[in-house]
C-alpha cells in the first residue's frame, strides 16, 4: 500500500481516447508528486514554442502523495500547463475537496490533451470515465454549472471543477474553479480549458487512500496537527480572521500597494481589514478538506453568499483601486468566482485601467460603464462583470494588465512580472520578497517563496526587511521548500508551523519511500530547476527576472517605507550564484548533474 496510487488517467479530447497508465515510480520518488511531477512530465511531453491555446498544449490536474490522506490540509491539487498569459510554466494550486475526491476515484493525475469539437465535460466515477456533451453548460457561471452538473451526474456528493464564461472566452486571466469558489487562480489556466472546449470535470470516488505505514502515519499526522494547533499563526490568527488579517499589518508597514502601486499606505485600510470583515460580513468559516486551520471565509452581502474574500482580493479590489467599500469588494469577489477570473489579476487590471484613465490614455468615451476613477466602488463590480464580455473595454481588460497597458502604449503601468500581476506587497519595502517576485517561475507571485513571513511576520525568525545580505540564500530555501510542499499535496500555510523534517516524516510514512529533510528540499530544488529550464527553452532570460520600472526607480513616496526602491540589481548575481546557475541565470551542468537532470 502507498498513498501514491500509481495511476494516471489520460483523456484525449481530439480522439476521444480514454486510457490509464502507470505512473513512473522513479519520477514519483524524485519529484514527490504535484507541481514537481507534473512540471517534469509537461516539460517532457510538449515541445517548446507551441501555442498555449492550441491543442498541442496539455493540462495536468495533479495531486500529491498527501492529497486525500489524513495529513493536515491534504486536499490540495495543482493545475500544470503552459500559460497562455505569459508562455511560462503555469502551476496553479487549489484547495477545497476536488483533489481529494480524484484520489478517492483512484487517480494521482489526470492529463487532458487535444481539443474537443464541441463543448464537453469529463465525468469520472471510479473506473468509469466518460466525455459528455456540455453544450447546455457553455456560457453558464460557476454556481449554475455546478448545480446542473450535480443534478445530471445524479450524486450530490460528487465534486465539480469548472471554468466560467471568462475561460470560454480565452481570457488570459481566467481561472479554474472547484467546489464553487475555490480557485486554481493564476496564469490563465482557465483559458487552456476553454481552448480545449472543456467546461468541467466531475469526479466521485469510493476508495480510501491508505498510507504505507498506517501506524507511523497516524503518529506523524497527529504530531503535525498538534504543532499546527499550537502555533500562533495557524492555531489562532488564521482561524480567527483568515488571510484578511494581513491588511492592517501590511498597511502599517507602508507596503500596502495603493492606486496601482503609486503609494504604499491606504488611509482607509481599516474599513477593508480582516477585523472589519469578521465584524460585518463573516457568516462562517469555510475549511477545505481535512484542514485544522480553516482560514477559508464565507461571507454574505445583500443575501448573496460566497467564499472569501481573501487578503489578496481585499487588496486588489480595495486599496489597489483606492476602494474602501467592503461590500463592493465582496461582490466583486463573488463575480470573479462566478465568471471564473483570478481575483488578483482582475483587480490589479482594473487598477491599471484606472491609472490609464488618470493619465489620459483611456478616453472617456471608451468607458462605457461606471467611471474608472480611484475609489469608485460601483466600478470594481461592474467592470469585473464586463470581463466576461467578448468585446469592448471589458474584453480588453480580461486579457490582463500587460496586454491592456501595451494596447495603450503604456506598458510601464502594468504592475506585473512576466505579465503576471503582482500581489499585495510592495517590494520596495521587502528586499527578499522582491527578489522572489523577480525570480518566481510563473511570474509575479507571492506563494512561490513567501519572504513576507521572515521579513514582516517574524516566522521562522525576524529579518531586517530592507537588508540585502543573506536574502538570496533565504529566497532559494523558501522557493525550494515551497516547491516541495506544492508537490506533496498539502497547503503552504502548514509551513508556518512545520518544516522539512515533518514533511519528510509525513511523506515517508504515507508512501513507503524514505525521505530525509534534505531529500524533500532537493525534490523542491529539482522542481524549481525544471521549471526554470522550461522557461529558458521558451526564450526567457535574465532580462525577464525583473520588476516593474516604478518599483526599481521611483522611491516610495510616503509612509514607513518612504524613500526606498527595490535593490534588485544588487541581489540577482548572488541569487544566481546561490542557485548554482551561471551569470546568465542558466543552471550549470554541475548543478543539473547534482539534481539528476
Amino acid at each position: 500500500m502507498s498513498s501514491i496510487l500509481g495511476k494516471v488517467l489520460r483523456v484525449n479530447l481530439s480522439t476521444g481516447a480514454i486510457a490509464t497508465e502507470a505512473l513512473s515510480a522513479e519520477l514519483s520518488k524524485a519529484y514527490i508528486g504535484g507541481r514537481g511531477l507534473a512540471g517534469k512530465m509537461l516539460a517532457d511531453e510538449i515541445p517548446a514554442g507551441i501555442d498555449a491555446l492550441s491543442e498541442e498544449n496539455k493540462l495536468f490536474f495533479v495531486t500529491g502523495p498527501l492529497t486525500g490522506t489524513a495529513a493536515p490540509t491534504g486536499g490540495r491539487y495543482m493545475v500544470v500547463t503552459k500559460s497562455p498569459l505569459n508562455n511560462v510554466i503555469a502551476s496553479s494550486n487549489s484547495g477545497g475537496f476536488w483533489g481529494a475526491e480524484l484520489k478517492f476515484a483512484g487517480y494521482d493525475v489526470v492529463i487532458v490533451e487535444g481539443k474537443a469539437k464541441e463543448p464537453v465535460y469529463i465525468a469520472i466515477k471510479d473506473d468509469e470515465v466518460e466525455i459528455r456533451p456540455a453544450d447546455k453548460l457553455w456560457g453558464k457561471k460557476s454556481n449554475e454549472t455546478t448545480d446542473m452538473l450535480l443534478e445530471e451526474f445524479g450524486d450530490p456528493k460528487a465534486r465539480v471543477l469548472n471554468i466560467g464564461p471568462a475561460g470560454e472566452n480565452l481570457s488570459r486571466i481566467a481561472c479554474i474553479i472547484n467546489d464553487r469558489w475555490r480557485a486554481a487562480g493564476r496564469s490563465g489556466v482557465g483559458a487552456v480549458m476553454g481552448s480545449k472546449n472543456l467546461k468541467a470535470i466531475v469526479v466521485r470516488g469510493s476508495q480510501k487512500v491508505e498510507a504505507a505505514d498506517p501506524d507511523k502515519f497516524k503518529a506523524v499526522v497527529s504530531d503535525a496537527i498538534k504543532k499546527i494547533k499550537e502555533n500562533g499563526v495557524t492555531g489562532q490568527g488564521l482561524p480567527a480572521y483568515g488571510t484578511a488579517v494581513l491588511v492592517n499589518i501590511i498597511n502599517e508597514s507602508g507596503i500596502f500597494p495603493t492606486n496601482n502601486f503609486q503609494e504604499g499606505v491606504f488611509p482607509l485600510a481599516e474599513e477593508i481589514s480582516g477585523e472589519a470583515l469578521a465584524e460585518k460580513y463573516l457568516k462562517k468559516k469555510d475549511p477545505c478538506f481535512r484542514c485544522p486551520i480553516a482560514c477559508g471565509r464565507y461571507c454574505e452581502v445583500d443575501g448573496e453568499g460566497g467564499g472569501g474574500p481573501e487578503y489578496e482580493t481585499l487588496w486588489a479590489y480595495g486599496s489597489d483601486c483606492g476602494v474602501s467599500d467592503l461590500k463592493a469588494i465582496i461582490k466583486a469577489n463573488n463575480v470573479c468566482n462566478e465568471i471564473g477570473v483570478d481575483t488578483i489579476s482582475a483587480g490589479a487590471t482594473i487598477a491599471a485601467a484606472m491609472e490609464l484613465v488618470q493619465r489620459g490614455y483611456i478616453k472617456p468615451e471608451e468607458v462605457t460603464g461606471p467611471a474608472l476613477t480611484w475609489g469608485n466602488a460601483e466600478a470594481i463590480v461592474e467592470w469585473t462583470k464586463k470581463m466576461a464580455d467578448t468585446e469592448g473595454l471589458g474584453a480588453k481588460m480580461a486579457m490582463g494588465s500587460a496586454r491592456l497597458t501595451e494596447a495603450y502604449g503604456a506598458p510601464e503601468l502594468s504592475m506585473a512580472v512576466k505579465k503576471l500581476e503582482l500581489p499585495a506587497y510592495d517590494p520596495r519595502g521587502l528586499a527578499g520578497h522582491g527578489l522572489q517576485y523577480a525570480t518566481a517561475n510563473r511570474g509575479g507571485c507571492h506563494v512561490r517563496g513567501y519572504m513576507v513571513s521572515p521579513e514582516i511576520l517574524g516566522v521562522p525568525e525576524k529579518l531586517d526587511r530592507f537588508a540585502i545580505d543573506g536574502k538570496a540564500e533565504w529566497v532559494k530555501i523558501f522557493q525550494d521548500i515551497t516547491a516541495a510542499i506544492d508537490s506533496a499535496g498539502i497547503c503552504l500555510f502548514t509551513s508556518f508551523a512545520i518544516g522539512a523534517q515533518e514533511y519528510a516524516d509525513l511523506l515517508t510514512a504515507a508512501t513507503g519511500i524514505a525521505y530525509s529533510a534534505e531529500d524533500v528540499l532537493a525534490a523542491g530544488e529539482r522542481c524549481f530547476n525544471v521549471e526554470r529550464m522550461f522557461n529558458l527553452a521558451e526564450g526567457y532570460s535574465i532580462a525577464d527576472d525583473t520588476l516593474p520600472k516604478r518599483l526599481l526607480e521611483d522611491p516610495m513616496p510616503d509612509g514607513p517605507t518612504k524613500g526606498y526602491v527595490h535593490p534588485l540589481k544588487e541581489m540577482l548575481p548572488k541569487y544566481y550564484e546561490v542557485r548554482g546557475w551561471d551569470a546568465q541565470g542558466i543552471p550549470t551542468e554541475e548543478k543539473k548533474k547534482a539534481l539528476g537532470l
Binding site: 490568527g237 480567527a240 492592517n248 513567501y450 525576524k462
Partner: protein, 74 residues
Amino acid sequence: MQVTVKLFATLRTNRFKVKVLDYSSGTTILDVARDLDIPKEELALTLVNGISVEVDHEIRDGDTLSLFPPVGGG
C-alpha cells in the same frame, strides 16, 4: 509624552482600536503592553512608526505603536 497606540486582531478584545496615551520617557513597548494587560506571549509583532522593533525598545514622544498578536496569511 504622547504616544499613539494601535491594537489589532484579538488584542482589541475588551480594549480599543486606537488611543493616544501618556507615558513617561524611558517607557518600553513591554511597559505599554503591561499597562494594557497584554501578556508578552500575545505580542508577536511590534511596530514603531511602521518599523519592526523588539519589545524592549524605548518609545519616544509622537511615536505610533502598532501591536499585533501572532497572525499570518498569504
